[in-house]
């Protein structure tokens, strides 16, 4: 898989912005990607050293419209910790 196919988008939320202070950046990543692939992808795209990756499968919420039950999409979230001193400019806006 290409690096840009693995990293789908950055997740910018209140929680993720607080994590940035610890050098952790949060992305939505491809379901099939593993931690090693994610670490490689992040370091090639942003040109940084990755210290570690944690992932979590986020299950889409069940939503109903009247009597129809639907489901939002699932996705995989990756929390990437960079080596000390590294930053990703993109997030800094």
């Amino acid at each position: 898989m290409e690096a840009r196919d693995i990293i789908i988008r950055p997740l910018i939320t209140e929680k993720s912005t607080t994590l940035m202070a610890e050098g952790k950046y949060v992305f939505e990543v491809a379901k099939a990607a593993n931690k090693i692939e994610i670490a490689k992808a992040v370091s090639t795209i942003f040109n940084v050293k990755v210290a570690g990756v944690n992932t979590i499968n986020v299950e889409g919420k069940k939503k109903r419209m009247g009597r129809f039950v639907g489901k939002r999409r699932d996705f995989k979230k990756a929390i990437v910790k960079l080596a000390a001193g590294e930053t990703i400019e993109f997030f800094e806006a």
Partner: protein
């Protein structure tokens, strides 16, 4: 903060204001924080988004405009205070440089409050004529009272219509031998001599008897409101249905008892006299006040800018619209009834507005010259009177005024009144 002032024509003034970069930056941060509270950014609760996220979401320019709006009015007020300038219009702001990390430079153009060259205002000689209360005036009052107490008495059989009789009649009007719209009436009440019908009509009915048919020949006046009828001769076929006479009660103690709480006519007369004298007194007093103030204003020289008058006219028109609305009328409707339009209305108000503005300016100038100031207790008194008038507590009234941001206006009003009293108290006796 640096300020340079330039006088323009029409009593306008231009201020060039420079605000240090640090202050602008501070305002910028504050603006971003405020915006964060307002905008909804997905992933963040309101007010929790950091500055950078807000910037990206709404755009730097937007934040900057907000920051400018926070800084500029404050800076302008400071500049005006520093240069000791009073302005009377909303200033027009024009930005020269507005960039992060650079000094903010902007221009403000507004109309200056004109300088008042005071004339004589202390010890003015004011003469007012007081209404005389003599027997004649009292007699007139009594006649009016009699009239109100008058009885209507049916005239005796076979009586003819006389002047001042109240009659009911049927009538049908013809122009060129044809009946016209609105020319017919049944049991129509009419007072002979009241001139409520076209001239000549009522006079020709004199002498008519009940049940008798009479033809009245009249010509519609030239200024009659109907286009088709004006200036045309007409014949009205009239039948008098009833005649009533007005009988005035006799002027004696009995009448006094009936019409008032007094027992005798003399008491009633004495009461009328003292009332009339009192009202003459108050009238003379208020005339004196008005004259004194106007005189002080006339003696002063002010070059009033047009905008001030325009603003006052606007306020007056608005006030009038509000008053009409309370009566359930729209300003447009009223103007249609009164046969005027907004321009004529404004033109009418202009003179009063100009003199009001002048009086206000002069009073302010006098206050300044005499060192008259509004004390806290003056304001409290004013608020208390207002509270009494509206049936609320002083605290509530004060809160409402403060919420509307009109405490300054109130203080100005009180100051003007105080100054007016000063001028009046100094009138040469």
């Amino acid at each position: 903060m640096e300020v340079s002032v330039k006088d323009l024509e029409n009593q306008q003034v231009e201020l060039n204001i420079t605000v240090p970069a640090a202050e602008l930056d501070k305002a910028y941060d504050a603006a971003a924080k405020k915006l964060a509270n307002r905008v909804n950014i997905p992933g963040f609760r309101k007010g929790k988004a950091p500055k950078k996220i807000v910037e990206r979401h709404v755009g730097k320019e937007y934040v900057m405009t907000d920051a400018f709006e926070m800084v500029a009015p404050k800076a302008l007020n400071e500049a005006l205070a520093q240069e000791n300038i009073d302005i009377v219009t909303r200033p027009e702001l024009d930005v020269d440089t507005l960039e992060l990390g650079k000094d903010l430079v902007f221009k403000a153009v507004a109309t200056k409050k004109p300088e008042v060259e005071l004339g004589e205002y202390k010890g003015l000689k004011v003469e007012v004529e007081k209404d005389v209360v003599d027997d004649e005036v009292i007699q007139q009052q009594l006649v009016r009272m009699l009239d109100r107490q008058a009885d209507m008495v049916e005239a005796e059989e076979g009586a003819a219509v006389e002047k001042d009789n109240f009659i009911t009649l049927d009538f049908k009007g013809f122009v060129d031998g044809e009946a016209f719209a609105g020319g017919e009436g049944k049991d129509y009440p009419l007072q002979i001599g009241s001139n409520s019908f076209i001239p000549g009509f009522e006079d020709q009915l004199i002498g008519a008897k009940v049940g008798e048919e009479k033809e009245v020949n009249v010509t519609f006046p030239e200024e009659y409101h109907s286009e088709e009828l004006k200036g045309k001769p007409a014949v009205f076929k009239c039948t008098v249905k009833s005649i009533k006479k007005k009988v005035l009660p006799e002027l004696n103690d009995d009448f006094a008892k009936k019409a008032s709480t007094f027992q005798t006519l003399d008491e009633l007369k004495a009461d009328l006299k003292s009332n009339l004298e009192k009202s003459a007194e108050t009238k003379a007093e208020s005339e004196k006040r008005e004259k004194a103030i106007n005189m002080a204003a006339d003696n002063a020289k002010v070059d009033i800018p047009e905008v001030m008058i325009e603003n006052r006219v606007n306020a007056m028109v608005q006030e009038m619209a509000l008053r009409l609305e309370q009566q359930g009328l729209k300003l447009e409707q009223y103007m249609a009834y009164a046969g005027t339009d907004i321009n004529k209305l404004r033109e009418n108000y202009k003179e009063t507005a100009a003199s009001n503005v002048k009086v206000d300016l002069v009073l302010e100038a006098i206050a300044k010259a005499e060192g008259i100031k509004v004390e806290a207790e003056d304001l409290d008194n004013e608020v208390a009177t207002m509270a009494a008038a509206y049936g609320a507590t002083a605290k509530q009234v004060k809160k409402i005024i403060a919420e509307q941001g009109r405490l300054g206006d109130l203080a100005a009003t009180v100051l003007r009144r105080k100054t007016a009293n000063f001028v009046i108290d100094s009138i040469a006796q």
